[in-house]
Amino acid sequence: MVSNNLFLEILLILIKIAVVLGIVLLHAAYTVYAERKIIGRMQARLGPTEVGPYGLLQPIADLLKLLTKEDIIPLEAERLIFLVAPLIVLTFAIVNLSVIPFHPSFIIADVNIGILLILAGASLAVYGIILGGWSSGSKYSLLGGLRSAAQVLSYEIPLGMSLAGVILAAESFKLSDIVNHQAQSFFGMNAIPQILGFIVFLICAFAETNRAPFDLPEAESELVAGYVTEYSGFRMGMFFLAEYISIYVMSLLIVHCYFGGWTLPGWLLTIFPPLKFVPAPLILLIKVYFFVFLFIWVRATYPRYRFDQLMSMCWKILIPVSLLNFLIVAFLKRGGF
């Protein structure tokens, strides 16, 4: 009886993993298409149009191309690390999805320290980039890897500190508890009372995913393609896949921590009562899509930062602001809000 229950439990977890992976991988592939289309329109171009109707089969064509391309390993490369590095990045990007709830009753691992595990996963993923950069045996790749290490390490501090405000408000490290706390709060979301924390988190999310305007580790005008320079074929594809999965992880985190996850604010439901009938996963999906769109929009709009500007913004502006946000939350909490 016990073994049957254990077997069913394992089977259920495996099914959940398969569902989440399937949905996220499909989303990651089509986000590339959406990015090319949206940026194309913003730059008065059409984007992909040739493969399938409206270019909808372009991601599949890209995938086939990447899988069938020759896997080139440079002579100067440290072979073992060079081969493993993309896997490290991809694995930790996927692992983060396991502690994020997609519905009140749909989560792979409902652990008490969900937020801390995501921070741990993010801090380990950077090894893949640094090691990939070093093992390529190229100066461009090495510099890209080092830039990435400095950037991610610096931005993890304000990211963690802005999350401290959210944790303090909800008095829990569990993402589902954080969402429930926001649903019961006056504003219905953390983004209003913790506007400073939200802005800091949003900026750090761009830096953590190495996206424009913080894409210095792979700045093509300075470092060819940074740590990806020597990679080709499906290994290069793994780096890009990890980047797009990270965008979804960060968007989900923003939505869960600052925009009430799958819930809508009480005041909004009072103004538009029919919104009560919108299913929870749809609410979550729309909010996440908005932030994914924001990632793309920002890439098309802002120029890249200089490295010293990036560092100085983190240490001189974001860290003090996130500390201030934490103090404000502490005072609000003390005042009974």
Binding site: A120, S123, L124, G145, L146
Partner: protein
């Protein structure tokens, strides 16, 4: 039944990696083995029921401090330093005390009655946790805060210094 079995596997893996660490000549590979050991140690903490310690072991040690080592290693100009060709006598001198330490640690975890840490409600309540830390360990927290603030001030001063040099 499954918990002690998995813990034994992880501890044996820990020992195997420890021996592998001494077999590596390239410092980068030594570093990588060490990194995996740090993550494994985190997993052992998890088996002992201390989730917080596991998270901080990975975030602070594996995620931040070891990255600094790697950074230093890549920027260090002398390539000879990066390949350690130890003599046998030196290797034995280094290996024996470290091995004794690791085996003692593993023996303690196996033979003594190391009970699973019983997570009380205070562990998962931020308010209770804060009460415990600030009322019972204020000095330790003060020292920790001072130690953590010190490098931040040092970095700021270094940046100011480099700006004025420019």
């Amino acid at each position: 039944m499954a918990r002690p079995l998995f813990m034994s596997i992880f501890l044996l893996l820990f020992l195997a990696l420890f021996l592998l660490l001494f077999r590596q000549k390239k410092v980068v590979y030594q570093f990588l083995v060490y990194l995996v050991m740090m993550v494994l140690l985190g997993i052992v903490y998890l088996f002992l029921g201390s989730e917080f310690l596991m998270a901080f072991q990975i975030i602070v040690y594996a995620g931040a401090i070891l990255v600094m080592f790697l950074f230093f290693l890549y920027l260090y100009p002398e390539e000879e330093f990066k390949i350690q060709d130890m003599r046998n006598s030196t290797l034995i001198k280094t290996l024996i005390p470290s091995l004794l330490f690791v085996i003692t640690l593993i023996l303690i975890l196996f033979t003594f009655d190391v009970r699973e840490y019983e997570a009380s409600a205070s562990v998962y309540s931020v308010k209770e946790l804060a009460k415990l830390i600030y009322n019972q360990y204020p000095l330790a927290i003060f020292l920790l805060a001072f130690i953590l603030t010190y490098p931040m001030i040092a970095i700021y001063l270094l940046m100011k210094g480099s700006e004025s040099d420019d």
